[in-house]
Amino acid sequence: MTLELKYLGMIAEAVGKQEEQLTISVKTVEGLCDYLITEHEQLKNHKFKIAVNHKLVESNFLLNNNDEVALLPPFAGG
C-alpha cells in the first residue's frame, strides 16, 4: 500500500525531510515504525507519537492504503 508520511518538528530535522510518499507492505503502525527506524537510524533517539489521518493511534492500529501518517515529536504549544 501507499502511505503519505509527514515528519514534524525535530523528527523532520532528524530524517531530513518534511514528507514523503511511501509504498510499503505493512499491516500496523508498529510495522511501519520498525521499517522507518531501520531506514532512519537516528529516529531511535527520538520520542514520537503517531497520528493516522489526524488522529493519534496506538502501535497496533491497522493501516489502510492512502492513509496520512504523521510522526509527532513532543508538543511545545503556547
Binding site: L8, G9, E13, H54, A70, L72, P74, A76, G77
Partner: protein
C-alpha cells in the same frame, strides 16, 4: 461533536497587543458578559548552557492541530457555562518578549471564565501538535518541549 465550522487558530508571527485590544473591544456589545479571562503565552529569553533564546520558530501539524483546537473548544463549551472563547496561536518566528498564544474566555461570572481559561490552556499545552524551535544568537537551536 457539533457541526460548527473548524476555525484556523494559527496566525503568522507574533500576536500583537493591538489584536488583543481589538478582541476585547468586540466584546463590549455582549452585555451579558461580566468577566473575561485572558491567558497570554510570551516567548522567554531563557539561558540554556550559556546561550540565550532569541526567538521561537513555531510549526504545527496544522490540519490536525485545528481539529484538536476545535475538539478542545467543544469540550470547554460543554464543561463550562461561558459566553464565548477565542484561541490564537502563532506560527513562524516569535521573538523573545513577543506573544505566541492568546486564549480568551468570557462568562457572566468570574469563576466560569477563569476555570474555562485554565482548562483550555492545559489542554492546548497537552494536546495540540505544535512544535517550537528555540533559536539562539549564534544561529544554533534546540527543540522546546512543554513541561
Amino acid at each position: 461533536m457539533s457541526e460548527k465550522k473548524i476555525k484556523n487558530v494559527f496566525v503568522e508571527g507574533p500576536i500583537t497587543p493591538e489584536k488583543i485590544a481589538s478582541s476585547i473591544a468586540h466584546h463590549q456589545v455582549k452585555t451579558n458578559i461580566g468577566a473575561h479571562d485572558i491567558f497570554l503565552g510570551q516567548v522567554r529569553a531563557d539561558d540554556i548552557d550559556g546561550k540565550t533564546v532569541q526567538a521561537i520558530d513555531y510549526s504545527a501539524y496544522e490540519e490536525m492541530a485545528n481539529n484538536i483546537f476545535h475538539e478542545i473548544r467543544e469540550e470547554t463549551f460543554a464543561k463550562f457555562d461561558i459566553t464565548c472563547m477565542h484561541i490564537y496561536h502563532s506560527k513562524g518566528i516569535v521573538k523573545a518578549g513577543e506573544i505566541c498564544l492568546f486564549v480568551f474566555t468570557s462568562s457572566a461570572h468570574r469563576k466560569n471564565a477563569m476555570d474555562a481559561c485554565r482548562y483550555l490552556v492545559e489542554e492546548i499545552k497537552a494536546k495540540a501538535p505544535v512544535f517550537g524551535k528555540e533559536l539562539f544568537e549564534d544561529e544554533s537551536h534546540q527543540w522546546k518541549v512543554n513541561a
